[in-house]
Symmetry: C2
Subunit: 405 residues, 2 copies
Amino acid sequence: MIYIAILGFGTVGSGVEEVLRKNAAEISAHAGQDIAVKYILDIRDFSATPYEKLCVHDFSVIENDPDVSIVVETIGGARAAYDFTKRSLLAGKHVVTSNKELVAAHGAELLEIAKERNINYLFEASVGGGIPIIRPLTQCLTANRVLEISGILNGTTNYILTNMLKNGETFDAALRQAQQLGYAEADPTADVDGIDTCRKIAILSDLAFGREIRPDDIDTTGIRSVTLADAKYAERAGCVIKLLGRAVVRNDGKLWVYVAPHLVARECILSNVDDVFNAIRVTGDAVGDVVFYGRGAGKFPTASAVVADVIDAVKHMKTRRYLGWNGVEPGKVAALGDMESVFYVRSDCTVQEAAEVYGAVVMLSEKDDTERAFLTAVMPTAKAYAAADALRSRGIAVHSIFRKL
Amino acid sequence: MIYIAILGFGTVGSGVEEVLRKNAAEISAHAGQDIAVKYILDIRDFSATPYEKLCVHDFSVIENDPDVSIVVETIGGARAAYDFTKRSLLAGKHVVTSNKELVAAHGAELLEIAKERNINYLFEASVGGGIPIIRPLTQCLTANRVLEISGILNGTTNYILTNMLKNGETFDAALRQAQQLGYAEADPTADVDGIDTCRKIAILSDLAFGREIRPDDIDTTGIRSVTLADAKYAERAGCVIKLLGRAVVRNDGKLWVYVAPHLVARECILSNVDDVFNAIRVTGDAVGDVVFYGRGAGKFPTASAVVADVIDAVKHMKTRRYLGWNGVEPGKVAALGDMESVFYVRSDCTVQEAAEVYGAVVMLSEKDDTERAFLTAVMPTAKAYAAADALRSRGIAVHSIFRKL
């Protein structure tokens, strides 16, 4: 019998308990042993619930109980979660988590502690919810030099963008709906401003390129500036708007890593990823493109990934998984200025002004539209933004400027 | 230094050698050791090529060389490949393969030998080419009860069907083109008649459900009966035609496992998988749908998966991976007769005759079409085919009858 403790009994934590209970027979068969929840740590009180006897409020009870060999951290954030994870690892307990914020910020340090103690710190659920991506990336694509990772990594923003495009909802209405359905938090900043996507592309880059990529080094733009007008013009261009986290290997080995809204052509498989679904496209030099698709969040999909890690920890009680990366390499993440792309621009400029500062463009707006929307030729990012500044310096509003994938 | 031998130096075998050479630095970093090819076994002669010194024609040289710890079997078929794999395992050598025919037919026996010797028999490349699917299924989805697997598992047939639908090519013209491009063999039977797909869904079912599913027990229909007319009517129904391998869990725990052409609605992500790409959709009770997409065949994609397995074998020289399944459970695979579906039927019948034998139908053909094509209501397979027999008994031709996904 393997005893585990669940830290944080919110959506994911309670999902983990439920999956362990519901699929106990299959899980025991896979793990080779029965798995039992010995403690649930939460601030809240669970008296008069089935969890009353498991509930503790003092982490040291778990820390000091040698029976507990695996700790599931589903608290979130990088404060209590960081403290408890570190203490769990130092106490020789394997830790499994869905906490992208913690892995992106302190993964290197926590993995180092796990390495020293010959135990596992596993975080399959931290990226893509239930979608298998960490193991495929670190075990199945190891023969490849990874050339690019591009992903729809946040379900909330994808739900909002899908609703804007398909149902003509405004950003605010779509956000409110996402909040009502429980997809978006009351404070939607981490989702809407791309911070969640930033943490996830950081983790994928750490693993794919073997160097710590700090979230702070990732140029991050969310979807607050996307309007219904942009959705309409994107459609005219045969595209949809998606928030992508991307890591692209340059010829000199440096990386462009960034988060931004993109116009994605309908021919691209990422354009078909709607609602709260996520998809991650990995390009390797041998395998070409592979795509992993599924529910990127939610109680049971995320619990599915957490419990798979728990099973893996049980099967590898005495051996460490080969997860980890080296420290920050100064200059590894390059500025986006010379990254080339087609850009989408929406502005109050005239057709002539657009051509003057951007050169040849493909107009998406019609003559009687009150503004201009167009696609540029392939150009460096710095040049695209300098042209926007040139418009602004003449008192012309630039409403949107996005890359095209 | 780890020495390997490559058996069969065709497309995949030579791709393995090339990937090992080209990405040697990355591969050594992942494996923790350098990997060198010591022997290449092939019937052909490689004098005056860079492989001259590695080439052997006698398997016993490899079998008896204790330096060789991993054997890569890329011969294909279940004759020499079976003999050499068995002898390699009995000699205590790990074996990595892309050979779906061998794994589907003799996987259980070969895995049993590997288990006894505490070594690995790995076959990630046998399903989905370069797409990671075996590990995600056996390691990342272990918290789930798998409810269904549906996949486009054969690149050749998908290339043919895509060309029929998108370019209006006939089956014969599309097949010839696939042969010219090297996607289809001179004898296309295994692809076109669904045999390759059958082997792959057998392997996925073995792993997902823990019981050996014999290819002989899988109802298998290929794409020879698919015509341009069907492609046209499918389009009118908002669908495309795809050859799917499927395993569906019934309420009583038995399985429906079969291979057949399907009408797939455009809303389904599998409908967007074109050309030689493959995609596998796995439905778990916790995770919901997850999809794995990529190049299902080809030199480098397949080599990518083989080499990843070689790296895994190097990392697990002393420990066995938890791959395997139990023997055949009589009655586990249920007959398709009571499996319910919407059916697509194309026939020389009249509208009245269609309604008489199939009940309410949705007509896809127009009044001036020379034949009738329609979708039935949801009905058991046996009833759908009995209705077709009723038409035939009255001398009316039934050209096509496919399921709708």
